[in-house]
């Protein structure tokens, strides 16, 4: 029975062996492609579904937010702070030397040109995800109660464990009194 053992196939000459090898490799390769193609839907199904994506832009009416006031809106399940800053807050934010900042960024870079009074940022502490409290802390900005991070009136990190400034979401002014986040 030795001729029929799987180890005996080389005895049939190298030409045959090559074809068998090609076949074998091609078949296993195709099988691997099949598995690969099947795995993608299994992974992709965990990405945001169409209805979740559809909610991913939020329009905010600014006309009712008085100077010195702010509101929190929900965008993609996260709080977004929309603040109508006072002259004093803007001035403070602009005067901070970049060298003093942990995550150096000018105030200009964090607002839209000509609309300095409007600060729009994702209200999620860059430390471990708590929501900072407004108009608190040592820098006229926000204070995160979880582990004591202080953010200034431009939402930049000044003290405490958080590494980065509060992030600015993608948004645009649809009119002077209306923005669209996302």
């Amino acid at each position: 029975m030795a001729t029929s053992s799987s180890a005996g196939h080389d005895a049939h000459g190298s030409g045959q062996a090559t074809r068998r090898d090609f076949l074998y490799v091609a078949t296993v390769g195709l099988g691997a492609v099949a598995v690969g193609a099947t795995v993608w839907p299994l992974i992709d199904q965990m990405n945001p579904a169409a209805d979740v994506l559809a909610l991913s832009s939020t329009e905010v009416d600014l006309s009712k937010i008085a100077e010195g006031q702010g509101i929190t809106v929900q965008w993609r399940g996260k709080p977004v702070f929309v603040r109508h800053r006072t002259e004093k807050e803007i001035k403070e934010a602009e005067e901070v030397p970049l060298a003093e900042l942990r995550d150096p960024e000018t105030d200009d870079a964090r607002v839209k040109a000509g609309k300095k009074q409007w600060l729009v940022m994702v209200g999620v502490c860059t430390h471990l995800g708590c929501i900072p409290l407004g108009q608190q802390g040592d820098y006229d900005g926000w204070f995160c109660p979880c582990h004591g991070s202080h953010y200034d009136s431009s939402g930049r990190i000044r003290r405490g464990p958080a590494p980065l400034n509060l992030p600015i979401p993608e948004y645009q002014f649809l009119s002077d009194t209306k923005i669209k986040i996302g």
Partner: protein, 254 residues
């Protein structure tokens, strides 16, 4: 709602159920050659848009489509701006600044506006019959789009001797033949935006196409993927067969 009303609705529902149970004969239903039939089938966008117009202008006054959102209409060829404008024609419940209930313009992400706030209101406005939700109608009846088309074109004079209950009309394919929905479509019921002549036949086909899409919006994706998968599996089958044959010759000697 008074317990009496609820009880009456329940009895009615039971009665309707029994009516359906009696009537399974069903008349001849023409099998149409839909563009979405077959392995390579696709939806005709123009027909879908016309079908939506029929739904919106005629059916939507009684039938909800609660599993569809306005944003879905982008799939049938409306632009983002058009969808936004379409949605804005409807009002959805909202709260004002002081928390009182009010309404706001619907957004593309909102579900289709329903004509009635709840089932009892729907029944009350329709002589006790409940106009079913149409989101899944393309799949929820034997025959699917063929059935919908046959139903819409199936209103005739009741044959002699057929006793039509009060408030019902005769329909050739509806189970039991006595339908609570008044004949919804007749020639030129709508004026098509694309200028197509709105005959009864045309509107029935268009709205059936639209309802099939609404029930199975992933039909095109599915068939396209299926053709690829089949081709690939065919190749895989050839290769696994050749490999098997090769191994068999070694191991079995034949």
């Amino acid at each position: 709602m008074s317990p009496f009303k609820i009880g009456a609705a329940a009895l009615l529902a039971l009665g309707l159920g029994a009516g359906v149970a009696q009537a399974s004969e069903g008349a001849h239903m023409e099998k149409l050659d839909w563009s979405f039939n077959g392995a390579f089938g696709t939806f005709d966008r123009a027909a879908l848009q016309r079908g939506y117009q029929v739904y919106k202008e005629v059916c939507a006054s009684c039938h909800s489509m609660k599993y569809l959102s306005y944003r879905n209409l982008q799939d049938i060829g409306f632009s983002e701006a058009e969808v936004k404008a379409l949605a804005a024609q409807y009002e959805v419940p909202a709260l004002d600044e002081v928390g009182d209930p009010t309404t706001a313009k619907a957004k593309p992400s909102d579900r289709f506006h329903s004509p009635f706030p709840n089932e009892l209101a729907a029944r009350a406005a329709n002589g006790g019959a409940l106009p079913p939700d149409l989101s899944l109608m393309g799949k929820a009846r034997v025959g699917g789009p063929d059935y919908i088309h046959a139903l819409l074109t199936g209103y005739h004079e009741a044959p002699a001797g057929f006793v039509l209950p009060e408030g019902k009309e005769y329909n050739a394919v509806f189970p039991g033949n006595a339908i609570g929905m008044p004949k919804p479509l007749s020639d030129d019921q709508v004026t098509y935006a694309d200028g197509t002549k709105a005959s009864l036949e045309q509107m029935s086909r268009d709205v059936s196409t639209f309802l099939m899409w609404a029930a199975e919006p992933k039909l095109e994706d599915r068939k396209r993927a299926g053709v690829k998968v089949m081709g690939f599996l065919g190749l895989l089958t050839i290769f696994t067969f050749l490999t098997y044959r090769k191994v068999r010759r070694k191991v079995q000697g034949h």
